[in-house]
């Protein structure tokens, strides 16, 4: 090949790289596949995963069962070795799968339009806030104070450069929206209002439908897509934009990533939406076909004036969610969601039997997680639990300092009675 292009040695093609910028790559020599697998396996063996050490963490990222069919589909190499479907004629498979994902999200949220993914729930929220700024002149974006530090920080970052200020509102005695506090803060200068349901405390908040009446500014709702199988669609409750993390729909936790940023909005706003969208169309024979559409909103065309800079998203995770949703179907999803509530209630009840522990902190409907108040610092508690072979819940201190003595405990269908019981008996022992 070298002789074909008239060069004698490999480096000749790098003669345009000046000496002054040359450097070496001081990495070790390569390894055989077998050795790589062994070496990485050896390192990963230091992990203690949720199958070994039962975990009570959640807050947006959940240990649900991933059906084998989901894995199988996303392991089809035609899917996962392909690029973004720029050429629709050779990408109908991915395009249709993503259109189906958008359709499922659209059903769940009650909104006609969904994009085919953002990076994760947190960035989806950030993009939603930015979209509000495009839809609206207001200068204040309102979000709940009950929010993870990760989401809060991402949200702040995504508002950089929009000129919009972030303001936080509180919660009430039952863990739902503090309507009075909110009322005070909703002014004519509102750019957008964000509420989560279920919220960080795991509470399913009956007050959220009221929000629509409080402002004309865009309303953003944060959801758990699985919980939506039981709940009125946010679109019906007046949401303009719905965001959430879809990792719970058929993807492993993966130490937090990739997630799946769910993003849906009203049809009338699609042209202000961030991210890639797949649209229905026809081919030259008039047959149904799909393609990426509304691309003039996007960075590769609109460049500096794009609705977002996003390019690579998490398409394959969206396909996993689509398969997961069809695998369960409506009735299966309802079952699974109920099972998660039942599991939560069981754990809540067991723990409420322990003296000195308030479980749950808020008397209200919950999904699969709830706050408990402990007589010891949650961080300390987790250290103790670790030694006993458990990964405890999320201490609130770093997220909602006012609730510093509380821990968010999450349970899913992956916890059977035995796991819950032994966890509770360890709690009893150490408290």
């Amino acid at each position: 090949m070298m002789e074909h292009i008239g060069i004698g040695f490999e480096d000749e093609l790098f003669k345009d790289v000046p000496e002054e910028v040359r450097c070496h790559l001081p990495l070790p020599r390569g390894m055989s596949e077998k050795d790589v697998v062994a070496e990485v396996g050896r390192i990963l063996a230091k992990n203690r995963h949720a199958g070994e050490v039962p975990s009570f963490l959640g807050a947006g990222c959940y240990d649900h069962y991933v059906p084998a069919a989901v894995d199988h589909v996303i392991s089809r190499s035609e899917f996962y070795t392909s690029y973004t479907p720029y050429q629709p004629e050779v990408s109908q498979g991915m395009l249709q799968a993503l259109f189906e994902y958008q359709s499922h999200i659209s059903e769940l949220t009650g909104l006609d339009a969904a994009n085919c993914s953002m990076y994760d729930g947190a960035t989806a929220l950030g993009e939603a806030a930015r979209m509000c700024a495009r839809l609206n002149d207001g200068n204040v974006f309102l979000a709940p104070r009950a929010i993870t530090r990760e989401k809060l920080s991402v949200l702040r970052n995504y508002l950089t450069g929009t000129g919009v200020e972030l303001e936080l509102y509180g919660w009430d005695d039952d863990g739902g929206v503090d309507l009075e506090d909110l009322e005070r803060r909703v002014t004519g200068d509102l750019c957008g209002l964000y509420a989560e349901n279920p919220n960080l405390f795991g509470v399913i908040d009956a007050r959220v439908p009221v929000l629509r009446g409080m402002t004309d500014a865009p309303l953003v709702m944060g959801v758990n897509p699985l919980a939506l199988a039981l709940m009125r669609p946010p679109g019906d409750m007046g949401a303009d934009i719905v965001v959430g993390d879809g990792q719970c729909l058929g993807s492993p936790m993966n130490y937090g990533g990739p997630g799946l940023g769910v993003f849906a909005c009203r049809q009338e706003h699609v042209r202000k939406m961030p991210g890639r969208v797949i649209g229905l169309t026809e081919d030259s024979h008039g047959e149904q076909a799909f393609c990426m559409t509304l691309q003039t909103r996007e960075q590769h065309i609109r460049r500096g004036r794009a609705t977002s800079n996003i390019c690579t998203n998490v398409a394959l995770v969206a396909v996993a969610a689509a398969v997961f949703l069809s695998y369960h179907g409506r009735d299966g999803l309802v079952e699974l969601a109920k099972e998660n509530i039942d599991r939560g209630r069981r754990l809540m009840d067991l723990i409420s039997d322990i003296d000195n522990v308030q479980s749950p902190v808020f008397e209200n409907y919950h999904f699969n997680e709830f706050l408990v108040e402990l007589p010891v610092k949650p961080e300390k508690m987790n250290g103790i639990l670790s030694k006993r072979g458990f990964q405890g819940g999320l201490p609130m201190s770093a997220h909602v300092p006012e609730m510093g003595d509380c821990m968010l405990l999450t349970t899913t269908e992956m916890h059977d009675d035995t796991v819950q019981d032994s966890f509770v008996s360890v709690l009893k022992e150490v408290l």
């Binding site: 000046p18 790559l25 030259s284 047959e287 390019c311 179907g329």
Partner: protein, 478 residues
Amino acid sequence: MRPDRRLIMERPVREGYPDVDGYVPEGMERASLHIPKVDEPELLRHYTALSRDNFGTDSGPYPLGSCTMKHNPKYADRLASQPAVGRMHHHMEEEHAQGSLDIMRRMERALGEISGMDSVSLQPSAGAHGEYAAMLIVKAYHASRNEERDEVIVPDSAHGTNPASAAMAGYKLVEIPSGDDGCVDLDALDAALSDRTAALMLTNPNTLGIFERRVKELASMVHGKGALLYYDGANLNAIMGKTSPGAMGFDLVHFNLHKTFATPHGGGGPGSGPIGVRAFLDDFLPVPRIIDEDDRLALDWAMPRSIGKVNGAMGNFAIVLRAYAYILRQGGDGLKGCSERAVLNSNYLKKRLEDHYEVPFADPRKHEFVASARKLKKDKGIRALDVAKRMIDHGIHPPTIYFPALVEEALMIEPTEDETMESLDRIADVMISIAEEDPATVVAAPHSAPVGRVDESKAVKDAVLSYRRMMSLREGSR
């Protein structure tokens, strides 16, 4: 329509809604949801059929310029599919996650070596996300020095994410044209630079596949004005082991693990877009940082100057892991060899095409090059788009088209190191035969794809993004 292309939701859902009483507050109960349950046999047939209508690197040559469509090695997927990867929550006690943290730490170091940067954060979720994080750092840096700089300079050949990311961070964009040699016009740069300049975003080799030889000079111009120099790492596959952003004088860089380090593109994602910075920007990197603490690894959130977070968790660990495995497999020499072969392949293919397509600008190229169908369009009415669609009929994925905009009827071709000479010849033969073919055949292509040419304008006009919308329009039209 083939029965297996029917939408999966075109199936009935039982009437009524399952009882959900007592599970959610009164008045909040859902009453309908059109998501049919599809039994596994049908579910698998549906998605297997869909997959067969999709083209990936395992299907054939995929010389999609700028996208670095490397083969995705299977050992990396095998490693990523174990519970020690999947069943890990990012809020875990650090002592439970020493394995994940160790992988991340090693990966930070490896990327530091490859890029010549001092510190690396794996948090951004993709290339554009890395750019955005980097722009936030640029902003925080200048702010920390009480400097008000509100402009970012971007060459006209830059990838769209560059201006978009800068704009998202609130910067004004200053676009500078490329010179006749396809490189940054240093005079134009000089004119654009000012004490308002926060940064220049650049990739090298640039999107034409041309190495900016005067990069050092350029760097001192930028630095001379107190601005920072940002490296778009999407083209790193061209230079590993030969030079590095650090050696060239860049201050910040993002990586596309899903390009240079062979992780799957996944039909659009997930990818991973770590960033690297020089030591003076260290403090601004996203939290948490991985640190050593009593013989083990820990996460440090106490970085007061940090930009905070850009991702809800720790980055795309499942992708980082794959890329780390790939780096281990290749080693330093292997990565250098990848770059050498990628550049060799690109130059060979360019050579083979040169007599049939215009290939503007002078030799040599790095890992990619941009050909033009300008003459073909003039002479025979065959546009870049038509060439692309016709390639499909021959089992070759089309190149990137109409980018960069500075080349008319651009065909941006990046074969990567994974194509064999035979495969390169096949690409060349096909492209040459198209240039010589009856234009009528070409403009009507593809002829043997799962669908005919797709009407993209109708999609824009209708903006039907969901089955729900599709059905409500259908009902409306009745």
